[in-house]
């Protein structure tokens, strides 16, 4: 579903991604881990059409970027550590805004459905600025899944959440991934990344330094491997 070949990206003279190759199958959940500044967010932003690579090839649903960026935006839903919501609008108004931006028909029914999926029906008429950080992230997932994207990109979605909210977010992430969506998630949380994903990849110094199926790793072996790569 996502094919990345020989991808390189630099900001000015500073290389961030260096000849990356990564392939994600349809329906697969891949967790991308790495230290701060390793290029996780940059990689995600390129796949999301928000940034352009200096060289290399990216395909989402076999649509090449940036040529088919418009079509790819319809296939992709993004949740980052910022919820991409408007505090002065209610939850329902935020979703209605994005429904119109995505040209959705029968938007009201879809809004009701996604609000129910994240258990926010009771708060739909409240301004988003009154929501807790955890509730805003749940609403961000509702926003990102509103147009029923085939690919979900999560950029450190647990940032700033307390334990309860993070656990609730995990449940929602599992449920949105369970319907056959392809998921690429960046995270700093090794245990959570391993638990949620089908496959883990470690990005270090602009390269994919390690890839493995999550089922072949234990939290301990994965943690050891991670620090071995990061401190190499």
């Amino acid at each position: 579903m996502i094919q990345i070949r020989s991808l390189s990206k630099s900001f000015g003279m500073k290389p961030v991604l260096n000849n990356i190759d990564l392939s994600i199958e349809p329906g697969e959940f891949v967790a991308l881990l790495g230290a701060n500044g390793s290029g996780k967010t940059t990689l995600l932003r390129i796949v999301a059409t928000l940034s352009r690579p200096n060289s290399g090839e990216v395909q989402v649903g076999r649509l090449s970027l940036p040529t088919h960026a418009y079509a790819v935006r319809q296939l992709v839903g993004v949740v980052s550590h910022q919820p991409l919501l408007y505090g002065e609008l209610t939850a329902e108004e935020n979703l209605r805004f994005y429904a119109r931006m995505y040209g959705l028909g029968a938007a009201e029914a879809r809004i009701t459905t996604v609000l129910a999926q994240v258990n926010l029906e009771q708060r739909q008429h409240d301004l988003v600025r009154t929501f807790s950080r955890g509730m805003q992230q749940l609403l961000a997932i509702a926003r990102a899944t509103l147009h029923q994207p085939k690919v979900l990109l999560f950029d450190e979605p647990h940032t700033g959440l307390d334990q309860d909210a993070a656990k609730m977010l995990d449940d929602v992430l599992r449920s949105v991934a369970a319907v056959g969506r392809t998921v690429l998630m960046t995270t700093h949380d090794l245990a959570r990344g391993l638990e949620l994903s089908d496959r883990v990849a470690i990005l270090s110094r602009g390269k994919i330094a390690f890839e493995a199926h999550s089922s072949t790793l234990t939290p301990t072996t994965f943690t050891d491997k991670y620090y071995e790569i990061i401190h190499a």
């Binding site: 928000l50 993004v78 919820p83 408007y86 028909g105």
Partner: protein, 234 residues
């Protein structure tokens, strides 16, 4: 392979997207009143300061009125334009707009429309106050037309450059530095036309500057449509 011409969703209507973005901005502004109130208070302060510092006789006031009014609106509009994309960037919602499968020009027109309405609201309130303070009747259809056209031109170029400045670190400083030199022609023409109209000049005399404002507006629209896609991306 997916056919890129067969979109998963119906293509978002261009003008519907424009209206949606403007609706969102206007609704948010109606609730927090951040931009319009800042522009209004700033405008009021500027015309009061000019009024008290330029203790002029009536004819001298008439000579400087158009210039003072346009300087007031340009500085006030710059405050609003600074927030057009910066507010989206600060709350992180700019990515949400850029992720939507809409023509980038729809984003430009939506932002242009909401900012233009904000500035017009300030002008509607400030012009009568200015008229009383400077004892000059401004309820002249031709003057109001120039005000509308001049504001439109300034807002078009301001919205375009605000999209460029939002990715820079010192964007609040950068926007006026980029904007004022580019806006000089439209402002000069608008001030000239406004001064002539307020002095009671006939159409033959004011037609030249008004035409210049119209031509400038058209050129700016064309440049904005051609370049906005590149300016808004990182």
């Amino acid at each position: 392979m997916l056919d890129p011409t067969e979109h998963q969703l119906p293509k978002a209507n261009f003008w519907r997207a424009v209206g949606t973005i403007a609706w969102k901005d206007l609704t948010a502004e109606l609730r927090n009143k951040e931009i319009v109130s800042a522009m209004f208070i700033f405008s009021l302060l500027v015309i009061l300061i000019f009024n008290f510092s330029l203790e002029l006789d009536k004819s001298a006031r008439e000579n400087v009125a158009a210039g003072v009014l346009w300087v007031t609106f340009i500085f006030a509009a710059t405050l609003g334009l600074n927030r057009t994309f910066a507010a989206e960037k600060d709350r992180g919602s700019l990515d949400g707009l850029l992720l939507a499968p809409i023509d980038r020009s729809a984003l430009f027109f939506g932002k242009l429309l909401s900012t233009f309405v904000f500035i017009l609201i300030v002008e509607i309130i400030v012009v009568p106050v200015f008229s009383v303070l400077y004892s000059i009747s401004m309820f002249n259809p031709m003057f109001l037309l120039v005000l509308l056209l001049g504001t439109l031109g300034y807002t078009v170029v301001g919205t375009l450059l605000a999209a460029m400045a939002v990715h820079t670190r010192a964007r609040e400083v950068m926007l006026p530095i980029l904007l004022f030199p580019v806006a000089v022609p439209v402002v000069m023409a608008a001030v000239r036309a406004s001064a002539d109209i307020l002095a009671g000049a006939k159409w033959g005399r004011v037609a030249g500057p008004i035409n210049l404002v119209v031509v400038y507006d058209i050129i700016l629209f064309a440049i904005a449509i051609m370049t906005f896609d590149y300016l808004i991306e990182e």
